[in-house]
C-alpha cells in the first residue's frame, strides 16, 4: 500500500466512524448540536425539543413530566407588589417556591431570600440578617423584606450575557434558556439583587418531589452548570394563575397582576399606596414594587 492510498483509506474510515457515531446516538442529536436559539425556533423544531425533554425527564425521574413553551399572553406585562407592612418573615414563600419550581434540594438553592432588618436601622441592606431563626416571627423591633428576581425593565443580567442565553419576554419576564447557558455566571455578577443562582453540582431533586407541570423557560429540571432564577412562576402565570408565593403567603402580603390593566390589583397599589423599588438609583427599573398598605 502506498502512502497516498493509505491516507485516502484512513480518512474515509475516520469519516465513516464519525458518521456511524452520529447515527447511533439518539434521534435529534445532530439537530440539537446545530439548533437555532429558542426565540428563532420553528414550531416543528420546538415541538421536537419539548418532546425530547419530556422523554429525557421520564427516563430520569420515572414520572410523566409535561414541558410547555406557552408564549406570552397578548397585552400583558406582569408586575408584582409586596406589602412590607404585612410580611412577618415566615419563609413560607421560599419553600413553596422550591417546591413549585423544582429547585435543587441538595445542594440547596433558594430563589427567595427573606432579610430581617432592624426597625431603627431602616431599610439597610448591610445590617440585614438572612439567617434569623427565632421560635416565632415577627420579632419585636424587626421588619422583613423578601427579595427575588425584580424582573427589571432594564436588566443588567441580560446585557452581560455573552451568548444571549437570557432575555426579556414580551410580558416582562426575564428568562433563561438552560440549554443555551454556558455557565459563565457573568449575569450573577451583574445582578444587583443577588437573584440569580448557579447549579454548582447536579441538582438534587428527589423524583417524588418533582413538580411535573413545567415550562421550558421556567421550572423544568435543570442540568448542572447553568444559572437559574425566579420567573414569576411562568408556567402558572401564563395560564392565568397566581404565582405560588402569592398563594402560599399566610398574611396576603404578596400581590400580582397585569401592569397594562387599569383595574388590576398591582395598578391599584401603584395608584393608591406608597411604593418603592429596590436600588432605584441603579436605573434597573424593576417590575417588583414594595409598598406599605397602612
Amino acid at each position: 500500500m502506498d502512502r497516498r492510498r493509505f491516507l485516502t483509506l484512513a480518512s474515509l474510515a475516520t469519516m465513516a466512524g464519525f458518521a456511524s457515531l452520529a447515527c447511533n446516538t439518539k434521534p435529534g442529536f445532530v439537530e440539537d448540536l446545530l439548533r437555532r436559539r429558542f426565540t428563532e425556533l420553528g414550531p416543528a423544531d420546538l415541538d421536537r425539543i419539548l418532546r425530547g425533554l419530556e422523554e429525557e425527564y421520564r427516563e430520569k425521574y420515572h414520572r410523566a413530566v409535561s414541558v410547555s413553551a406557552a408564549p406570552a399572553l397578548d397585552d400583558v406585562e406582569f408586575g408584582y407588589g409586596l406589602d412590607l407592612s404585612r410580611c412577618v418573615g415566615c419563609r413560607r414563600c421560599t419553600y413553596a417556591c422550591v417546591h413549585e419550581n423544582n429547585q435543587s434540594r441538595d445542594p440547596q438553592i433558594h430563589w427567595i431570600q427573606v432579610l430581617e432588618m432592624k426597625e431603627e436601622a431602616g431599610l439597610h441592606l448591610v445590617e440585614a440578617d438572612q439567617y434569623y431563626d427565632p421560635p416565632l416571627v415577627p420579632e419585636e423591633g424587626f421588619f422583613y423584606i423578601p427579595i427575588a428576581c425584580q424582573q427589571c425593565r432594564n436588566p443588567a443580567c441580560v446585557r452581560s450575557c455573552p451568548v444571549k442565553a437570557t432575555w426579556q419576554e414580551p410580558d416582562g419576564i426575564v428568562v433563561i434558556d438552560y440549554d443555551w447557558c454556558i455557565g459563565c455566571r457573568c449575569c450573577m455578577a451583574a445582578c444587583p439583587y443577588g437573584a440569580r443562582h448557579f447549579n454548582w453540582a447536579e441538582p438534587g431533586l428527589p423524583p417524588e418531589e418533582l413538580n411535573p407541570d413545567t415550562h421550558y423557560l421556567g421550572n423544568r429540571p435543570r442540568p448542572s452548570g447553568v444559572v437559574e432564577k425566579c420567573t414569576f412562576c411562568i408556567h402558572r402565570t401564563r395560564k392565568g394563575r397566581y404565582p405560588a408565593c402569592v398563594e402560599i403567603c399566610p398574611v396576603g402580603a404578596r400581590k400580582f397582576g397585569n401592569l397594562l390593566d387599569e383595574e388590576s390589583e398591582i395598578r391599584y397599589i401603584m395608584r393608591e399606596k406608597r411604593i418603592f423599588v429596590l436600588k432605584e438609583e441603579l436605573n434597573t427599573k424593576p417590575r417588583f414594587y414594595y409598598f406599605y398598605a397602612t
Partner: protein, 240 residues
C-alpha cells in the same frame, strides 16, 4: 586571594566610566541576614496561624440558623401544593369563591341551637362554663358581645344601624370601623387571594385570618433559613 577576586566583581561601571565599589555599602554578614529573615518570616506565619486557630468553630460563630439544610418535604404540615381546584366550566372573569365562615361545620352553628333557651344577660361580666376560652382583646374597654352579635337572633350579626347580616357577610360589620382596610380588601390588596390573576379568585373573610375577639395576627413559627454557604457541599443536607 578570593576576597580580592570578589572585590573585583563588585566593581561596576557607571555612566561616566568611573568605577565604584558597591559591596562596601551593601555587604552584610551572610548567615546573620539569613537568620533575621527567617525569624521575621516565622513570626509572621505564626501570627497568621494563631489568628486562624483562634476563630471559634463555625457552628458557634453567631446566633441564628443555617447550619442544616431543609427542603419543602420536611414540612408536610404546610400544604405547599397550592393548587386551587380547577375553576368550574361556568367560572368567568371576576367570579369569586369563598370558603364558609369559621365554625360553620363543627357542631357549633347555628348558635340558636344552644342560645334559644338561655336568658339574655347583657351585663359585662366574666364568662363561666361557656365561651370562657374567648379572650376579648379588640379595641376599647367598653366593647361587649352585643356590639356585634344580636341578642335576639344569635344566628346573625348586627350592624350599627340595627340591620342583621349573616356570618358569611361579616366583612360588612368589620368594615364599619376599618373602612380603609375594607376598601383595600375589596380590591384584593388586603388579605390572601388564590386562583387566577385574570379570572376566578377565591378570597377569605376577615375572620378566617383574624380572630374577631382578638384580631391581632398571631406570631407564627418561621421555616428555617437557608444553609450558610460555607457549609454547602459538606453533606449536611437532609435529603439524600
Amino acid at each position: 586571594m578570593r576576597d580580592g577576586n570578589r572585590h573585583e566583581e563588585n566593581l561596576i561601571a557607571d555612566d561616566g566610566g568611573n568605577r565604584r565599589n558597591v559591596g562596601d555599602t551593601l555587604r552584610l554578614p551572610r548567615f546573620s541576614s539569613l537568620i533575621i529573615m527567617l525569624c521575621i518570616f516565622l513570626t509572621i506565619s505564626l501570627l497568621i496561624l494563631f489568628t486562624i486557630l483562634d476563630r471559634p468553630p463555625v457552628s458557634q460563630a453567631e446566633a441564628g440558623g443555617g447550619y442544616r439544610s431543609y427542603g419543602p418535604a420536611d414540612f408536610p404540615e404546610i400544604g405547599f401544593d397550592v393548587i386551587l381546584p380547577e375553576p368550574q366550566p361556568g367560572a368567568v372573569a371576576g367570579a369569586y369563591t369563598l370558603p364558609p365562615p369559621p365554625f360553620s361545620d363543627e357542631d357549633i352553628f347555628p348558635c340558636s341551637g344552644c342560645h334559644e333557651d338561655t336568658e339574655v344577660d347583657p351585663r359585662r361580666r366574666e364568662l363561666v362554663d361557656y365561651h370562657e376560652e374567648i379572650l376579648l382583646n379588640h379595641g376599647p374597654e367598653d366593647r361587649w358581645c352585643f356590639d356585634c352579635h344580636d341578642p335576639a337572633d344569635r344566628d346573625h350579626l348586627r350592624l350599627a344601624n340595627g340591620s342583621l347580616i349573616g356570618f358569611d357577610e361579616s366583612y360588612r360589620l368589620c368594615g364599619q370601623c376599618h373602612g380603609t382596610i375594607f376598601r383595600d380588601w375589596r380590591r384584593g390588596i388586603h388579605g390572601r387571594r388564590r386562583g387566577y390573576w385574570n379570572g376566578a379568585k377565591s378570597y377569605l373573610l376577615c375572620a378566617h385570618c383574624h380572630d374577631p375577639h382578638a384580631p391581632h395576627f398571631a406570631a407564627i413559627k418561621p421555616l428555617p433559613p437557608k444553609l450558610r454557604p460555607e457549609l454547602l457541599g459538606m453533606n449536611q443536607g437532609s435529603t439524600p
